[in-house]
Symmetry: C2
Subunit: 114 residues, 2 copies
DNA sequence: ACAATATACATAGAACTTCAATGTATTTCA
DNA sequence: TGAAATACATTGAAGTTCTATGTATATTGT
């Protein structure tokens, strides 16, 4: 499994979490599993990494949280994307596209268009 | 002009500098201009940002430096990519491709199709 | 019944990072 | 003469990821 640079992880964590939450509310542990699954095991967030990021995102007003009891009675802190976060996700997509084009030009190879 | 997130800048600075240097030796100020030109003004590194990154890259053994007098007699610190840096650039390219694919997938599909 | 594993959230602290601000100099050009 | 561009460097503020550690409950295998 490839170990990505801290920088690459940093650039993608928030857009990826926003993407996941844009498809429906979720909680920390489930987000980790979802990203692991989608990336086919290539991105596995440590919980100690994800939770502070979720807190930061909530503080910035991108998402909101609420406690809920799961099927099994265990309490979970759910997160839901809010208006600000939707706008932020759009912005992140735009920026990724631009940067990807610049890099693609520099490398003169075809990268996956989004 | 779009202002990119610190994170996105962080993820791309080293690969971009390595790319520029893989096309020929250069010095700080020229690298800033080259990236600005290639990105059509969208990426403009502050000198206070670039120089510490160059120092870090040299310390890590990705590039080497040497003083040279330019046409006008002004001294410039040139940088040249070395073996380690070429390998690092290949790795960065690979990783960018993988992450781009994952993100591309996330932005295209529904996580929980009903 | 018991142990191991998976689920679930949280924080502290180490080791980074970017970048604005500031400083020093030289060259070019109106 | 003076402004702008060229050229490199460092400091310090504010932020970042991630390891380690802690708490606790649910599930699964033997």
């Amino acid at each position: 499994m490839t170990k990505f640079s801290k920088e690459l992880v940093g650039a993608t964590t928030i857009p990826i979490i926003l993407s996941v939450l844009s498809k429906g509310e979720s909680y920390g542990y489930e987000i980790i599993q979802a990203v692991k699954s989608i990336s086919e095991g290539q991105i596995t967030y440590a919980d100690g990494t994800l939770y502070p990021v979720l807190h930061k995102m909530e503080k910035k007003g991108l998402i909101e949280s609420f406690w809920k009891k799961g099927d099994n009675g265990r309490r979970r802190k759910y997160y839901r994307i809010i208006e600000n976060g939707i706008q932020q996700l759009d912005l992140e997509k735009e920026n990724w596209l631009i940067v990807n084009q610049i890099i693609s030009k520099l490398w003169k190879i075809d990268l996956n268009p989004i």
